[in-house]
């Protein structure tokens, strides 16, 4: 009888994906709005103009709603690793737990402490001290993301650790190796700056709403200007770091980059097109209806015109000796566990780099035990395991494309927004303002697609080439998983509904409804302009 129930693994994956995607609806706005609030408050402190304080207060209120609900959805995820992914936690807990603990103890506490001072300290702290607090909130929220992404990067590129055959766990070697992991660096900056884009679109869209209704015009036009400039630079940074991540995937996760590009066979440089649209078929291992731009893929991925990119079918073939070697590694490890013979340990060390492939093969072994594979059936198990090394190509391919298409759209939108704002021609372009308003949720969607690309593309591994996903889950019952999945779906949907209700409510009320437009001398000036 199989020890691992594939239905439980699939439900665990679905539950984690659901909770992560729900949580990630709140995160980007928190990451970006805090720094935008800091920018607004900086102008307030430097110029002393009340309208910038009003801006910091109003957008800060919307940030507060998002922050509270974001925290609520994030807390459960940390427990999920223990409840639903206990095998993973046992195998990788040393590596994963350290950055997660630092996130909780340092970044989250810092962010949560200072956020209280930021909201309630306006009348109790001096201007420069309050500004410093706002910057610390922004830094804390982004440091929080940093540690989460350091943990995530160690799953994609497990630097600073080695597998210990005595404890059967990954052991932490180097803190510097984990923190300065190239994948962590690129992923953190890409994610953080994607949050800036989301916040820019949020502020710009709501400001466009006021400008369309000719309400709070000076407030809205100023907010729009700052958001547009914040957004255009952030979008350029997101695209730059996206390229860095693609390059890292090409070097370290060839299956992910091949799936992202729908590349079944090794590319033929320099002609190889970048596929704009296609219908990849995972079962047949081919794509239909391909539309591409020639001569783009090779320089885009390899930064050269001559380097070929290995296709998925060739990667499958190249994995065959690693699967066989991995079976030898896992078999030697099992024997070493039982007898502690030096020869078994030596055999394990000779094949340990392929251990993950051996664990992957256990899915096709009798009773999921590779030591039970008869020698004459090893090749058959290897052949069955080969397609398992690939992620779901359709999901990876399309989630990446939707993210990229949206990124290009944001670049054009922010460029136009900056130009029209700098030229003071916003109110003449009502259609453009409407597009800005309707575009508010799109950066959130783009970050969701980005997350799906990163996580679906890493499959079939939880820890790349070390631990397969199907061996990482806890051994719950299907009914338990269904019950908790339904619970999370209902609870998180309520959170989203509450967030949307509060956001719409306070955005419609606008800054004046909160009694924040007490401009003094500035008010006369504003009234002149408004007429």
């Amino acid at each position: 009888m199989d020890l691992i129930n594939p239905a439980v693994v699939d439900l665990s994956r679905f539950q984690f994906a659901l909770t992560a995607l729900y949580h990630f609806m709140f995160v980007p706005l928190t990451l970006g709005l805090t720094f935008m609030l800091a920018a607004m408050e900086t102008v307030y402190v430097v110029t002393g103009k009340q309208v910038y304080k009003d801006m910091a207060l109003f957008w800060g209120k919307l940030f507060g709603i998002n922050f509270a609900l974001g925290v609520a959805t994030g807390l459960t995820m940390e427990f999920e690793f223990g409840t639903n992914w206990s095998m993973y936690s046992r195998f990788f807990g040393d590596m994963f737990g350290t950055p997660l603990a630092i996130e909780g103890l340092m970044a989250f506490f810092m962010e949560s402490t200072f956020v209280g001072l930021m909201f309630f300290g306006w009348d109790r702290l001096s201007k420069p001290v309050h500004l410093a607090i706002t910057y610390l909130v922004a830094l804390g929220s982004n440091l929080s993301a940093l540690w989460i992404l350091v943990a995530n990067a160690s799953m994609n590129m497990p630097n600073g650790a080695h597998f210990d055959p005595e404890t059967l766990r990954m052991t932490f070697d180097s803190f510097v190796g984990v923190v300065f992991n190239p994948d962590a660096q690129a992923k953190f900056v890409h994610t953080s700056v994607a949050g800036y884009v989301a916040a820019s679109m949020f502020v710009m869209g709501i400001s466009a709403f006021y400008l369309l209704r000719k309400e709070h015009r000076e407030f809205a036009a100023r907010s729009f200007r700052m958001a547009a400039l914040f957004g255009i630079f952030s979008t350029v940074a997101v695209i730059t770091l996206g390229d860095v991540l693609g390059r890292l995937d090409y070097e370290h996760q060839p299956t992910k980059i091949a799936a992202i590009e729908g590349l079944w066979h090794t590319s033929k440089p320099p002609y190889e097109p970048w596929i704009i649209a296609a219908l990849p078929n995972d079962a047949k291992q081919e794509s239909s209806y391909e539309i591409g731009v020639p001569f783009v893929l090779t320089p885009l991925i390899t930064h050269s015109f001559t380097t070929p990119i290995t296709g998925m079918i060739e990667l499958e073939d190249a994995a065959a000796p690693r699967i066989e070697s991995g079976i030898a590694a896992v078999s030697a490890l099992r024997r070493y566990e039982e007898g502690h013979q030096a020869a078994d340990l030596e055999m394990f060390h000779a094949h340990q780099n392929d251990m993950g492939y051996g664990l992957l093969a256990s899915r096709h072994a009798p009773n999921q035990d590779v030591t039970a594979i008869p020698p004459e059936q090893i090749q058959s198990v290897v052949e069955q395991t080969k397609p398992d090394i690939l992620p779901n190509v359709f999901v990876t391919f399309w989630s990446f494309r939707l993210m990229v298409f949206l990124g290009v759209f944001f670049f054009v939108l922010f460029a136009m927004a900056s130009y029209l704002s700098l030229k003071n021609q916003l109110e003449r372009n009502r259609l453009f303002l409407k597009i800005c308003m309707w575009a508010i949720p799109l950066p959130i969607l783009a970050t969701e697609f980005g997350w799906i690309t990163a996580e679906a593309g890493r499959q079939p591994w939880t820890v790349f080439e070390r631990l397969p996903t199907f061996m990482s889950a806890s051994t719950h019952s299907v009914s338990y998983m269904l019950f908790s999945l339904a619970g999370f779906t209902v609870l998180y949907s309520i959170f989203i509904a509450v967030e949307l209700y509060l956001m719409f409510k306070f955005a419609r009320l606008g800054p004046e409804a909160h009694g924040q437009h007490d401009h003094g001398a500035d008010a006369d000036h504003l009234s002149v302009v408004a007429h």
Binding site: A39, V189, E218, A228, Q425
Partner: protein, 65 residues
């Protein structure tokens, strides 16, 4: 004494900034790029706000944004 302390404080901040730039710029170039880039984005956005004020004062009669 106050002036000396101010200079000492600023000198210390400068040393810390240089050490940060040398160490993080070498070990974690993208972390460094994020720190510098975020400050730049904030400053550009802030400058946009200040420019808005200047433009509004110049064209106050037009009343259009």
């Amino acid at each position: 004494m106050k002036i000396f302390l101010r200079f000492a404080g600023l000198g210390l901040a400068l040393v810390v900034a240089l050490l940060f730039a040398v160490f993080v710029g070498d070990q974690g170039p993208w972390y460094f790029a994020w720190a510098v880039g975020t400050v730049m984005i904030i400053l550009v956005a802030a400058a946009g706000g200040v420019l808005f004020d200047a433009q509004t004062e110049d064209h106050v009669s037009e009343g259009e944004f």
